[in-house]
């Protein structure tokens, strides 16, 4: 075991910090959570020379150490707490050659915390094209640290960076800007009260607590009060922070005048030309719409192949298990509980991977910010922000990261509304329910000269319905929520980049993995519980099912197989789950469902994706398990016990689609909303309103269409 040092990667958003992190750690990384909060914590290991290992922490992107959001607060926390196991031995600040000035702001702040800090200038490969030249030696001298030019994209300078990290002991921890000039008296007092501490650190503790609210360190503020230190009012502190920013920019401007030369004649670039088209008042919107259309058509068409294959593979695995192992409850559990349950998880992988692939490409290329720009004015009218578009679009993958992605919305009201309406967007867990029902009730035909598939178009309509529901409820919430807006909106427009394969691949793998492991556990557990509930029961009707059925059909000359089927069906009806299903049947019958769908819906309240798995479990328990039948065929064969005809017809299908479009059926989302809004009030409101909307929409649709 070699020695290990702690490295924190810090930098503005859009500087290629994550690309650099991926370069340094490769797949040797893990994503977790900071204790008690839901911000993603990305860590990785990088091997340096001579057996030295660097434990690298990729901190959230931040423009400064002035805390206004949870993400920034994490960066500040990490850098202030010397006792934390994450406290860096060396900080690596990532900047981008084209935005050096703005990127240096946070660098000067970190340097002033007296932490050894390396400055990385990324995208160095663009220097020549942009006619930028930089005096690195002078820069190192002025900033009193090591400056490394890299290109994460072209894999240049990475070794030099590793060497610089390995030699971190040679770095001084001297500050570079004297922030105390903004109010000498105040800082002198601070120094007198705490002679042994860095004044800049104290200053950050004060501003963070006053502006952002106390996390775990209110002791510091209490302590200051005990020492009769006048902290000053919030408005005064804010003015001082403004002054601090100006002082830092003066230093940076002075520095860059000496070291940086840019030939501005070359400034007209691809960005301007692309923006002209992509942000055009007509073409811009049209292009956005076409991109969405392509994504949904592609997901629908491409993922059906691996999905059919997975569906078939699990069906044959079940029958293989049934035929191979000795009959008994364990084999039944495996063949009818565990394997179909696993299948219900694995079948999502193609779609989730595709969705995250597209989202990652849009984010990486810089196009997502253009979407925010195009949509802000419209979204504002509905009480949302242009930045709500990103959560609403990522909501099509999963509401959980989407709710977390609302953090960069500055205005609380806009943020709260976004959180409340995001679960209406069509998340990937709804997809399997949609896909299976669409394939049952919508004809597989091409329309408009064969350009569009009816089923694909229906799916697209469902996605649109999700958005419309989200936007409409946002509009209502904006009117009824008694919160004053204190809105301001600043967004960086990053330059366009070709998405890096490695970054996209890592995002897709990470997100898919976290879905399979996270949601998979719930689905698995529910499948097993369902199987138990469906396989056991009490009372005469269950225990003597065979005798009762034999008697009932004694005169009808049924084959052995038909008889077995009847017995299984009778057992299921009187099992635990049968009783539960019968109990809720009166509530779901007006929507066009039978008690089996009722059970699937009830179990879906834990997580929607359970729906298909539940039906698979129920039907395979019911069938004799001998023949290899896919879940789709089973569903198509179901008949309506009262009206006759297929159970899944156009009316009940549409009713089910609408129910799943609106209902709040995801425990994990509710838990995240509770954490992000810090109260049970909002998730409770969300749950009751969405579910009520779902019930009445489904009721209306079935009663009209039947």
């Amino acid at each position: 075991m070699g020695k290990s040092i702690n490295v924190s990667l810090i930098g503005n958003p859009n500087t290629g910090k994550t690309s650099l992190f991926n370069r340094l750690t490769g797949l040797n990384q893990q994503v977790g959570n900071y204790p008690g909060i839901t911000v993603e914590k990305k860590e990785g290991i990088c091997k340096l020379d001579r057996g030295l290992k660097a434990h690298i922490l990729d901190l959230p992107g931040t423009y400064s150490l002035n805390t206004t959001s949870l993400d920034e607060s994490i960066v500040v926390e990490t850098l202030l707490n010397r006792n934390s196991k994450d406290f860096p031995d060396v900080a690596v600040v990532v900047s981008d050659i084209e935005n050096l000035k703005r990127n240096l702001l946070v660098f000067t702040q970190i340097k002033d915390l007296e932490i050894p800090t390396i400055l990385v200038i990324n995208m160095a490969d663009r220097m020549e094209r942009k006619a930028i030249s930089l005096d690195i030696d002078l820069m190192q001298q002025e900033l009193n640290t090591t400056v490394v030019l890299v290109s994460a994209r072209k894999n240049l300078g990475i070794q030099e960076l590793k060497d610089a990290i390995a030699n971190y002991k040679q770095l001084t921890s001297e500050p570079c800007v004297n922030a105390s000039v903004i109010d000498t008296e105040y800082f002198d007092n601070l120094k007198k009260t705490y002679p042994n501490q860095s004044v800049y650190k104290l200053w950050l503790v004060i501003t963070q607590d006053v502006n952002f609210g106390k996390l775990d360190r209110n002791r510091d503020i209490e302590d200051l009060k005990k020492h009769k230190f006048d902290i000053k009012s919030e408005a005064d502190l804010k003015k001082m922070q403004h002054k601090e920013t100006v002082v830092r920019y003066q230093f940076i401007n002075g520095l860059l005048k000496k070291v940086l030369t840019v030939d501005t004649a070359n400034a007209k670039d691809i960005r301007t030309r692309l923006d002209r088209v992509l942000l055009h008042k007509v073409w811009g919107y049209l292009i956005f719409f076409v991109i969405l259309l392509v994504i949904f058509q592609a997901i629908y068409d491409w993922s059906t192949y691996p999905m059919d294959w997975i569906d078939g593979a699990f069906a044959s695995m079940s029958s293989w298990a049934n035929n191979t192992f000795p009959a008994g409850p364990l084999t039944d559990l495996l063949a009818e509980g565990i394997i179909p349950g696993l299948g219900g998880i694995v079948i999502f992988i193609p779609q989730i991977a595709f969705l995250f692939l597209f989202i990652a490409i849009l984010e990486e290329s810089g196009y997502m910010s253009r979407v925010v720009f195009l949509m802000d004015h419209i979204m504002k009218r509905f009480g949302l922000s242009g930045k709500s578009v990103v959560p609403l679009v990522s909501g099509t993958a999963c509401a959980i990261p989407a709710v977390m992605a609302t953090r960069n919305i500055e205005d609380w009201k806009e943020r709260l509304i976004t959180i409340l309406v995001v679960p209406f967007t069509t998340c990937s867990a709804r997809l399997p329910v949609y896909l299976i029902i669409i394939s049952l009730v919508i004809p597989d035909e091409r329309i408009l000269g064969g350009a569009f598939n009816m089923q694909g178009l229906t799916l697209m309509l469902l996605y649109l319905l999700g958005f419309v529901a989200a936007i409409f409820s946002a509009w209502v919430l904006n009117i009824i929520l008694p919160i004053n807006r204190k809105s301001f909106f600043v967004m960086e427009m990053p330059s366009y980049k070709l998405p890096l394969f490695k970054n996209v691949a890592i995002t897709v793998i990470e997100k898919t993995k976290s879905f399979v492991v996270g949601a998979g556990k719930i689905i698995m557990a529910i499948s097993v519980v369902l199987w138990i509930l469906a396989s056991y029961g009490v009372g005469e009707e269950f225990n003597n099912a065979e005798a009762i059925v034999n008697e009932q059909y004694a005169n009808q000359n049924l084959t052995v197989e038909e008889m077995d089927q009847k017995v299984a069906s009778h057992e299921l009806e009187y099992s635990f789950i049968g009783y539960i299903g019968k109990g809720i049947e009166p509530a779901v019958r007006p929507l066009g469902y039978d008690w089996k769908i009722g059970i699937a819906i009830v179990s879906s309240f834990a997580a929607r994706e359970v729906f298909v798995g539940t039906l698979a479990t129920i039907y395979s328990v019911e069938s004799d398990g001998e023949e290899e039948q896919t879940i789709k065929k089973r569903m198509a064969a179901e008949t309506n016990p009262i009206l006759g005809g297929p159970l899944f017809n156009f009316a009940s299908g549409i009713s089910l689609l609408l129910f799943y479009a609106f209902a709040m059926q995801c425990m994990s989302t509710l838990a995240i909303v509770k954490r992000e809004t810090n109260s049970w009030k909002w998730p409770a409101i969300q749950f009751f309103f969405m579910t009520a909307a779902a019930y009445f929409a489904a009721l209306g649709a079935y009663q009209i269409l039947k």
């Binding site: 703005r102 804010k238 802000d376 301001f488 427009m493 330059s495």
Partner: protein, 76 residues
Amino acid sequence: MNTTIADLKRGETAIIKQFDGIDVPLKLLEMGCLPGNRVTMMQSAPFKDPIYLDINGTHLAIRRETAVTIRVELDG
């Protein structure tokens, strides 16, 4: 002297003079929107909101309601 960023036409450049009102978002300063800096209006969305600016090489978008509080002087 009553020109604000919201009055700039596409491609026009100006110098930032001062902010109206006390509640200037700190984030705006952090992104380089400081008095004395040059600002170029790049593009605007329909209804001139939001507005896409180039401030000393930093490209950012702000809403119209913020833009009308930033006074500028036309350059050249």
